[in-house]
Symmetry: C2
Subunit: 511 residues, 2 copies
């Protein structure tokens, strides 16, 4: 793969880098966490200095809410003079369960380096230990791996310098009086705030990168709440500035040690650059930015066309060619067809905004052909649903994307959504990302109550599990599920789960 | 225990703090170490960058000799962009075996925090990792606990900033042509150099403190080699400046976070302040320092007198009241009696140097009474050896100290040493510290050949085991022995083992 850089775009992005807002946060409680993850109060925070840690002893501090930031600990020794280094293990948990999990037993397939755990030797106490890394956490366990027979360790003070590009005080609460919805909004906002750093990160614990699929949803939630348009603009210029030599926009970007597009490219994520730009335009009417970025956006349409056969039906690539959802065994062909049409819709809006009348007309013509192909190839009239792939797989996602793309609309779409819920196909949705699109589709069909009920079931389920921020992954039938072979590396504050703040405001605007 | 400080003395010590000499040292080889600690070459150091470390892979670097210093690593990633933190374990070993020992299995009774092992997360590569702690090592293992499926870690460069108060180039080699003695001298010098830091440390790996018993021997070796008189003076002022409220000089001192005497006091170590001052005087003729420190030295005699009964026989305290040696079950009463007389001898030298004629005479009288008590109470005429304790224990140490104190001298002493070697009592010597005194006693009796033979057997045994520096502990019958329940925390560069450099020069002077 060959990368090319548009220096002008990257320079613009660099100039838009936010100065992070810092807040000093202190723990509010000393707690115990049992094996099943239940949190019990253990002592008042004012009693912190009463805990004298000797070999094998620990305390767990509760910071009251999910934090993203830099932690400093003021430590001293008591007893005889410190005759050996103090050896501490610090473990940060977004959720209580992370504290109790034994990292040694981790055998997932992604890197155990994501487990937020540090082993630290302190040769000389007292000291302020300033940890150089950023952590995402609510709970911090301080465990004395060893001291010596002659001294113990006392934690005098712990401070987190929490960081974000935005401030919670900038957001108006939702009007709903339902306490579950109020809580859902609060947790959504916290999720979004904690993911808004130098870029929109997918998760501040893991993997802390700018992903286009996540960006699109974060941007929508941001327009409805924090309204930090500059950060979205920055991220779009990064994606447009760092591309493959054929003009393809990557699925994700690194910002350190330098701005760099990853070697992952996905059909849907590349196309969502168009949608992200269109959403940005509708939020800001910043036509200058649209003008500059339109060629990059349009290039994604051109590249995607190569994936279609002469009958305008999308051809599948390897297993990761298109994201859609993590559901194993999911066939993504119908969704990809729909997502292309969805992107065309947004492309038409942008072309019209730019007064590119001829191009807009051409795209509309193209849309017709591709919708027609979608109906011919994927619609199963007998079953009344869209199927996908050679094995004619029935899934939620195919219906959702066809509805969102407008291939079915109005009453037809509403009935289709009813039908798929009734059918309850084995090919369900596993990511909050896909569940968001399901709710979007319900709202589009006018099923507002169903949308709210489903949000209460899905995001409400995470609240019931004690979420302070919404998770990367939530399966109501198996809350401990992980796509990584172990929940120890799950991200429990994940951008693509933050959309209730957007959906709830959208529902309330439309009421 | 109440501490008091003589600020004038501590100020003098602070002014004498050495500026450490720094040398940049790089690894010379990439090696493999098998389970039994055998080192095999693996690759040229120039091939370092060819090793791309993925999860579970490691390299071991050989720095060619024992180093004490600060280590920096230049690291980069290769493969796809680094999509997860690199998680490394760095393990430093003074001897090869430390690299292969599993720290998890450590179950010794002193702190596992002494194991020189760090777990490090690196969020962004490439980077220079500058480790803040000082290590004592020859071997460094760099183990990739985890990377990710998409990248590997490459070690581009490793540098050690080695530190010492002295420089090897200041020392004349010994005249002996025997390669074993030459090597023994080199290893002794390296041991001493690496223990000479801001103070004379007992061991740069563990426990990095100033102990009076070690200081006395280091000072002797230093006078014969590096001749850094200021560092000895500094350490004496620290001991005299930081005392118990009754004037007792401590067994050891901390220098960080502040100068502080430990709460350990031992009969013999306190008395050795006198001997250390006398040795310093004989090396420097610095009578001003002797004048200033004499009251502190003499106070140790006064305090020790309280340990004797009306028959001038020393009364034993608890198990750690007097160090002598680590041999389990060792009775220390006879040794303590002898060490008091040994200190009196040195006190008499100092009193005379200070023209304290009357006091010198009083001390000589006292000496006579205590020697007489030693002969009456501890000498077993039938067996022709000194016994110790109520159970009349026969040990090497009692004979050695009685000879060093001059309770037996000349031909009588020589025969006594012969006898004890022949008897080979179960109560042997386990520390190089005590083995040093055994050799000193042999030399005092004129048994120079036996002294050299014994040194070849004892320190030569460590050389045969591959020592680059001499160890805290060496039992020729069980080279892996540890007083701590595990050799993982043994110190393999230990001050009290450095004396061959002194003994060999003494032997050559006397020849």
């Amino acid at each position: 793969m060959k990368r090319i850089t548009n220096d002008v775009f990257v320079e613009k992005a660099i100039k838009l880098e936010p100065k992070l807002i810092e807040k000093q946060v202190k723990p509010i409680n000393i707690v115990s966490i049992n094996k099943s993850g239940k949190v019990e109060p253990r002592a008042e925070i004012g009693e912190l200095e009463l805990f004298t840690l000797k070999k094998g002893e620990s305390i767990v501090l509760d910071f009251g809410d999910h934090q993203v930031g830099y932690v400093s600990l003021k430590l001293k020794s008591i007893g005889s003079p410190q005759d050996a280094p103090a050896y501490l293990r610090l473990k940060f948990g977004e959720v209580p369960k992370e504290i109790t999990e034994n990292s040694e037993e981790y055998n997932g397939w992604i890197s155990r380096s994501w487990i937020q755990e540090e082993y630290i030797h302190l040769d000389v106490l007292p000291t302020w230990l300033h940890l150089p890394r950023r952590y995402a956490f609510r709970f911090l366990e301080i465990y004395a791996v060893d001291t010596s027979l002659k001294f113990q360790v006392v934690v005098e003070e712990v401070v987190c310098r929490a960081v974000s590009a935005v401030d919670m005080e900038e957001v108006e609460p939702i009007s709903a009086s339902d306490p579950v919805l109020q809580r859902m909004d609060k947790v959504s906002l916290r999720t979004l705030l904690n993911c808004m750093q130098s870029v929109f990160e997918d998760g501040p614990k893991r993997d802390r990168r700018l992903w286009l699929g996540d960006l699109r949803l974060q941007a929508l939630a941001n327009y409805a709440t924090f309204k930090d348009y500059e950060l979205v603009k920055r991220c779009m210029y990064l994606f447009a500035g760092l591309i493959r030599d054929d003009g393809a926009i990557g699925a994700c970007l690194f910002t350190e040690p330098e701005y760099l597009v990853d070697d992952t490219f996905m059909f849907d994520y590349s196309l969502f650059f168009i949608s992200t730009l269109k959403d940005y335009y509708e939020a800001t009417y910043d036509i200058k930015t649209v003008e500059e970025l339109w060629p990059s956006a349009y290039r994604q349409i051109e590249l995607s066309r190569m994936c279609f056969n002469e009958r305008n039906v999308v051809q599948e690539g390897d297993s990761n060619w298109c994201f859609v959802d993590w559901k194993e065994g999911l066939n993504k062909q119908a969704s990809a067809q729909a997502i292309y049409i969805y992107a065309l819709n947004d492309g038409i809006v942008l072309a019209e905004a730019l007064d590119k009348v001829q191009l807009a007309d051409e795209l509309k013509e193209e849309r017709k052909r591709f919708v027609s192909a979608a109906l011919n190839y994927f619609w199963d009239d007998k079953q009344g649903v869209f199927i996908s792939g050679e094995k004619r797989q029935i899934s939620y996602v195919s219906q959702v994307w066809m509805v969102l793309a407008g291939v079915k609309a109005g009453e037809e779409a509403r009935m289709l959504m009813d039908r798929i819920v009734e059918l309850k196909p084995e090919m369900g949705m596993v990511t909050p990302y896909m569940n968001h699109h399901f709710v979007e589709a319900l709202i589009l069909c006018g099923e507002k109550e169903k949308a709210i009920d489903y949000m209460k079931y899905y995001w409400g389920g995470m609240l019931f599990q004690g979420a302070d921020t919404f998770w990367e992954l939530y399966n109501p039938d198996n809350p401990q599920e992980s796509p990584y072979g172990s929940s120890a590396v799950n991200s429990y504050c994940h951008a693509w789960s933050c959309t209730p703040a957007y959906l709830l405001r959208k529902l309330s605007d439309e009421v």
